[in-house]
Amino acid sequence: MLEIQNLYKYYGTFAALNGLNLTIKKGELFGFVGPNGAGKTTTMRIICGLLKADSGQVYIDGVDAFKQQRQLKEKIGYMPDFFGVYDNLKVYEYMDFYASAYGLTGDCVKRTCLELLDRVNLGDKASAYVDHLSRGMKQRLCLARTLIHDPSLLILDEPASGLDPQARFEMQEILKGLLDLDKTLVVSSHILPELSRMCTSVGVIQAGKMVLCGGMEEIMSLMASANPLVISLTDKVDQAVEYLKQQPLVATLSYKDHTVRVDFKGDSEDEVRLLSQMVQIGLPVSSFSREEGSLEALFLQITSQTGGGIFYAN
């Protein structure tokens, strides 16, 4: 659906994008993650044709984004990180204006506008003035606006920024619902727990380069393998600690009450072996698992490192 090849963008001597490569498959909800100034918004603005790249290629469904601007605009729905509304327009008129900007006319426009407003839970606000809406409602209205021309790719820059938890949850549910409409979504956000809950794939950008990209589940399981083993016992904790200290794959460990956290260097087969040996020597293990990985941990781990090549988890 979206293919970015060797994208470079310089602001003076500063490389905002430094050979960015990215491929997103159709139907994905792609979480675009990176620290401030990493190049997320620049990438999104280039994809949408608002900014010129210095070099590189962007293809959307086979359409060359730099050469076929008109076709590109038909395929993309863009929601910027900061946006305004027209104060003296009503919600329905706002939608109708953008529908006409996309060349949509006739009776179907009214139906489409009302359907989209219903989808973002603004059906009852169609006659309200846009400036009377709350921040969350405006965000949802802007999302409905991006869907007006039925685009196949949605580029959403921080769609949940500045929203309260309830509004964020609502937005999250709406975005998940869009996957049923066969849309591909690229969502940038700083609210990582939410991204990890809704995204099907994720990419981490740092200093204008993708440093990690892949399916959410694969990345999370890879992350988990680097996390400590958490072993809970009903008794004999001291004996378990002594036993674990002797194991060559155990780097460090710590324990509190009935739980032992072990920095274990082995793979899943080594984990099986360790568990069976512990059970064999009579240690009462009640639970044995790797600590769950989180996108924040991954993000912090990646962004605290410098350099490094791209890693694709597929």
Partner: protein
């Protein structure tokens, strides 16, 4: 055919704003005050002298339309200098630019909207303008010609303001540049030519007067001069304006004789250049 969406939206927003009735009220009040002042001065003079001076009719005609032109020149930049910068400040421009509407169509929509306001201002002032018919001697066709040119000149000023608002990020800067542009066209060009006349007067050789003739052609871009040329041509001493250009400013006869047509053509070219410049400013950014 689909109406330009930006034009439709702008029209809706303008008509709903409380600013427009205020502008209409102020514009017509000032125009009526100036026109009625001249009108009653003429009547008073006639009453005391028992003589109706017919040159006063021309004076009334001239003052009415010059006042209308100046008011439009004053109002148009205020109304249009936020056309694009306002969208930028409101953070609606990026969204607009991601639609399939070309920058040219967006600019055209803004320009059409400003034309509609200009027409509204001019049409609303018709009852005031009708005072020029009070004494006779002025034909309806003459009035229509001047009004049409004033509308064109306002569109010209509007396009300049829209180009400025597309080029500059902030409305404040855009407004200042728009007013500077209008002032430069109306007053600046006259100052340049006045300076040329002064230099030419003190120069002992003939060459400066040739240069003065060429320099004076800068007045072709001045809508104020075009209005004066148009108004002068409508009264009996129709040759006076081309003659003044030839004798005082040494303008070549071919130019002075076709001054109005030439100035409108040049202003049309400038208008097109401004629309192009505004559209170009909305293209994908390098930065």
């Amino acid at each position: 055919m689909q109406i330009n969406p930006v034009f439709r939206k702008e029209l809706k927003l303008t008509m709903r704003s409380s600013r427009l009735p205020m502008i209409l009220l102020i514009y017509n009040s000032v125009l009526a005050f100036i026109t009625l002042l001249v009108f009653y001065t003429i009547i008073e003079n006639a009453r005391w002298t028992q003589v109706m001076d017919y040159t006063a009719v021309f004076l009334l005609y001239m003052i009415t339309f010059v006042a209308e032109g100046l008011l439009l020149a004053f109002i148009i930049p205020a109304l249009t200098s936020n056309a694009i910068s306002g969208e930028r400040e409101r953070q609606t421009l990026d969204i607009l630019l991601t639609t399939p509407m070309s920058p040219f169509r967006i600019i055209l929509g803004k320009l059409m909207s400003s034309i509609s306001i200009i027409l509204l201002l001019v049409i609303s002032s018709i009852p005031v303008l009708a005072i020029v018919f009070a004494f006779g001697g002025v034909s309806l066709l003459d009035v229509i010609k001047v009004v049409c040119y004033l509308v064109f000149a306002s569109v010209f000023a509007g396009a300049m303001s829209i180009a400025s608002s597309a080029r500059f990020k902030k409305t404040t800067t855009s407004t200042v540049v728009s007013y500077a542009g209008v002032l430069g066209l109306i007053v600046g060009t006259v100052l340049i030519v006045t300076l040329g006349v002064m230099v030419s007067t003190v120069s002992p050789v003939d060459a400066p007067s040739v240069i003065l003739g060429i320099l004076s052609m800068i007045l072709l871009v001045n809508p104020g001069v075009t209005v004066i040329a148009l108004l002068s041509g409508q009264f009996s001493y129709s040759d006076s304006f081309p003659a003044a250009l030839r004798e005082t400013l040494n303008v070549p006869p071919i130019v002075s004789e076709h001054w109005i047509v030439l100035s409108i053509v040049i202003q049309c070219v400038l208008l097109a250049a401004m629309i192009w410049s505004a559209s170009a400013a909305l293209g994908p950014k390098r930065r």
